[in-house]
């Protein structure tokens, strides 16, 4: 029963985000910007309140969207995990948008700036809706909102390259959503429900009796493949390099930090609440996920080494990190899921500052993304250099950073799992991928710290030059670095919360 006003917050957050999106589209850009920041902060505050309430409450809440209960009306459902991830992704969205603000204002068409903030509000709305919804079809609708809004953020840079990248992204996402929708239709056809708990009950029964075995397996694999394509898992990661490479830093950060994570989180929600973990494991989808995740972790790293363009290198590194998430999910068990979630968090707070600081490093190197031109860039913009180095250290997995805990978690999950077949490949992939990560990030860091004769650094340049949007960028770097160290040093409470959270999801 609904006992507290706090449980209404997700509804208010979603509606407020949609309202602000519509309002932003008619305002001038500076007003729209204020509305957008206000909204993101308000949603953040609401989610923090919700998290505190949920920790005290201790059980998951089902929120009826309308006057009709579960199988008839829509529903929201949340335990600890949902507000926690919502806080995190909201924070990443806010900080990335703040940090990428300067580049955005330099690149976008003047008349259209407010539309960018509309898209950010819509992304916030779809983040909230996809995390909290308890209905598979609502999930589909908001997946589409997220896709179109991402495309809008992507084309805000307005160069031919970014538009071609957006086209590629749209084609891949449309294939992904098509497969996902097909899976949803099959699932509806054999269960007759769209609400996750009802689907779950029907699926358990069908699996036990063996009725409609083939359609059920097809539905599970179509949904998994659809969401995997959209989040950029290994054989479908080609769009990432072009897209992240030609997007503005804010857009690349938002895409890698928030949007690709959303699809994985929705898949996770479906695994727990729609299929049930046992059915999902028995269907074999999990093992396929493990194989492709592991392959993605390696292939992404190897491709990253080949790049001469630093943006594309970081994009391929993203592909390898997404591979880690799927690999950890594929290991299965509670430890595997926690490791996957922690990797998701760590990547969400590490990749955006990398993209943001890269953009700054490019700016001071004649706007060239090539290693040859980036020599000494860290001396020309020291803050961006430090931020990039910290991000790279976390990616490589240095102790005290979030990336280290991730590798520890994945390794311990692999060792503790009862399926011995997965433990050794996991460890090998982890070791190899760490070495490869080190190789290409070390090379980049060495390059940007090697003094250059052609672009000498100004020795009098201050460390801190608060003009032209530097304040916002510095704020973003600092916040991301703090989060990175925070998650690295105080990982125990986070891991405990994650454990309680997935417990509430019905693990």
């Amino acid at each position: 029963m609904i006992s507290s006003f706090v449980v209404n917050f997700p509804l208010f957050c979603i509606v407020a985000s949609l309202l602000c999106a519509v309002v932003c589209s008619v305002l001038v850009s500076h007003a729209a910007e204020k509305v957008c920041w206000g909204l993101l902060m308000a949603v953040l505050a609401a989610n923090i309140t919700l998290l505190v309430y949920q920790i005290q409450n201790g059980e998951s809440v089902t929120f009826m969207m309308g006057h009709f209960p579960a199988p008839w009306g829509n529903e929201l459902r949340f335990g600890i995990l949902e507000p926690m991830i919502a806080i995190l992704l909201g924070l990443v969205l806010l900080l990335t948008a703040i940090g990428g603000r300067m580049h955005y204002f330099a690149q976008a068409q003047t008349g259209h700036r407010s539309v960018y903030f509309t898209m950010l509000c819509l992304l916030q709305a779809s983040t909230m809706a996809m995390l909290f919804t308890n209905d598979i079809f609502t999930g589909y609708v908001f997946i589409e909102i997220a896709t179109i809004a991402t495309c809008g953020v992507l084309v805000s840079r307005n160069t031919p390259g970014s538009i071609a990248a957006a086209m590629r992204y749209m084609i891949f996402s449309q294939i992904g959503s098509g497969l996902f929708l097909l899976g949803v239709i099959l699932l509806y056809g054999i269960t007759g429900h769209l609400l996750l708990p009802n689907i779950c009950a029907a699926v358990q029964q069908l699996w036990a009796t063996g009725e409609y075995h083939l359609p059920l397996t097809a539905a599970i694999s179509l949904i998994t493949v659809g969401l995997a394509i959209k989040s950029g898992l290994f054989p479908f990661h080609f769009w990432m390099a072009d897209t992240y490479g030609s997007a503005s830093p804010g857009a690349a950060g938002v895409m890698s930090g928030v949007v690709s994570k959303l699809y994985i989180l929705f898949l996770l929600k479906l695994i727990f609440c729609a299929f049930g973990t046992e059915v999902y494991y028995d269907s074999g989808a999990q093992n396929v996920m493990f194989v492709f995740g592991a392959a993605g972790a390696l292939v992404g790293s190897v491709s990253a080494i080949h790049q001469r363009d630093i943006n594309r290198m970081t994009a391929y590194s993203s592909a390898s990190q997404i591979g880690y998430i799927y690999m950890a999910l594929g290991i299965g068990g509670q430890a595997g899921v926690i490791a996957a979630l922690f990797q998701l968090i760590a990547h969400a707070i590490t990749k955006p500052p990398l993209f943001l600081s890269l953009a700054r490093l490019r700016d001071v190197s004649g706007n060239s993304p090539y290693f040859a031109d980036l020599q000494g860039a860290a001396h020309r913009d020291r803050l961006a250099g430090i931020s990039f180095t910290l991000g790279a250290m976390s990616m490589v997995g240095l102790p005290t950073m979030a990336g280290f805990i991730v590798k520890l978690q994945i390794a311990s999950a692999a060792v503790s799992t009862d399926i011995g077949l997965k433990a050794i490949p996991t460890l090998i992939v982890l070791a190899l991928s760490t070495v490869l990560n080190t190789v290409y990030f070390l090379r980049t860091v060495l390059r940007i710290y090697t003094p250059s004769e052609t672009h000498p650094a100004d020795p009098k340049a201050p460390w801190w030059s608060p003009k032209g949007g530097r304040v916002s960028a510095t704020l973003a770097y600092a916040a991301f670095a703090a989060m990175n160290f925070g998650f690295g040093l105080f990982s125990q409470p986070v891991l405990a919360l994650l454990e309680r959270g997935i417990g509430m999801l019905g693990f």
Binding site: V26, M65, W72, N74, V115
Partner: protein, 311 residues
């Protein structure tokens, strides 16, 4: 010694590790052809880079159709097998025909006031989906505005490329006498029909989305036959923004109220009214009108943006 040099060069960033592949591995057919060699040799980058990427691209293009057909075949085979093991088509005992559909049909009129069960379902039982759906349309049109609306400021493409070229000759329909006469006759009927469909969404087939699409089509015919100068009198960027703003805000706020009262078990002042009356079915009629306005504006806006780059 050579490997040491290569390593250093890679570390400097001006070499791709794969450059060290011996030239012999490249198929000879892929060597740069005459004109391109002269271009590449002038650049600082080693020519082998180009060949390698060309080689990769060529390999990709060779293998791609093969894999694509394979993937398509796999999907067809799996789906066909799935279709044959699905519940019997058209049967009454299919799993989808369960208590959910039954309640929508049995109690729908009482609970929502809509005689059109589909309208009752999408705008009352499962209204959250539809709320998202109307915002999908809004998101789409915003993205198209971002892409196609020409602003007075710097527009990279326009300035660089197309300014010198004459605009592509367009079929100017405003001079067409047949369209002109036909539009005079047909546009009022289209509008009337669209308004009817929107207002009777809860009583008969139709509703905001279909009615709005009809209204939008009417606007498009009108604009094609009489020119955008005529439509601009009542339909411009400002009107478009205001209609979208008001309709979507009304939609979100009213649904927020309805969700809020429903979830907290509060008394709501919205009642289904007398089923069958035009003013009945609670929020469904106003929502249909709001959606209809948004859809009509969106359809016209998309046409206008594609046609001339502004609303």
């Amino acid at each position: 010694m050579k490997s040491n040099e290569t390593w250093k060069s890679w570390l400097r960033g001006d070499l791709d590790l794969t450059d060290t592949l011996p030239e012999a591995q490249m198929p000879s057919a892929l060597e740069p052809t005459g004109t391109e060699t002269s271009q590449t040799s002038g650049e600082e980058q080693p020519a082998s880079m180009k060949t390698l990427e060309r080689w990769e691209l060529h390999l990709f293009q060779k293998l791609y159709p093969f894999f694509a057909v394979l993937m398509g075949l796999a999907i067809v085979v799996v789906l066909m097998a799935t279709v044959f093991s699905l519940p019997r088509f058209g049967g009454e005992d299919v799993p989808a025909n369960n208590e959910v559909a039954e309640r929508y049909l049995a109690d729908g009129i009482e609970e929502t006031g809509a005689i059109n069960f589909v309208a009752g379902m999408i705008l009352d039982y499962r209204a959250f989906d539809t709320l998202g759906e109307s915002h999908v349309l809004f998101t789409g049109v915003c993205a198209v505005i971002l892409l196609l609306e020409s602003t007075e400021e710097v527009n990279i493409f326009r300035r660089k490329k197309t300014k010198k070229r004459a605009p592509a000759p367009r079929l100017d329909l405003t001079k067409d006498p047949i369209l002109h006469q036909a539009a005079l006759f047909i546009v009022p009927i289209i509008f009337l029909f669209g308004i009817y469909v929107v207002f009777n969404g809860h009583l008969s087939p139709g509703g905001g989305f279909s009615g709005g699409a009809i209204l939008g089509a009417g606007l498009i015919v009108y604009a094609s036959a009489f020119g955008f100068e005529q439509t601009e009198r009542f339909m411009n960027r400002k009107v478009f923004r205001m209609v979208t703003l008001c309709a979507l805000c009304f939609y979100s706020l009213s649904k927020c109220y309805s969700f809020f009262t429903g979830a907290n078990h509060l008394e709501s002042f919205i009642s289904p009214g007398t089923p069958g009356n035009i003013f009945s079915a609670g929020l469904i009629l106003p929502l249909n009108i709001a959606v209809g306005a948004v859809v009509a504006c969106t359809m016209y806006g998309l046409f206008s943006l594609f046609e001339r780059g502004k609303i």
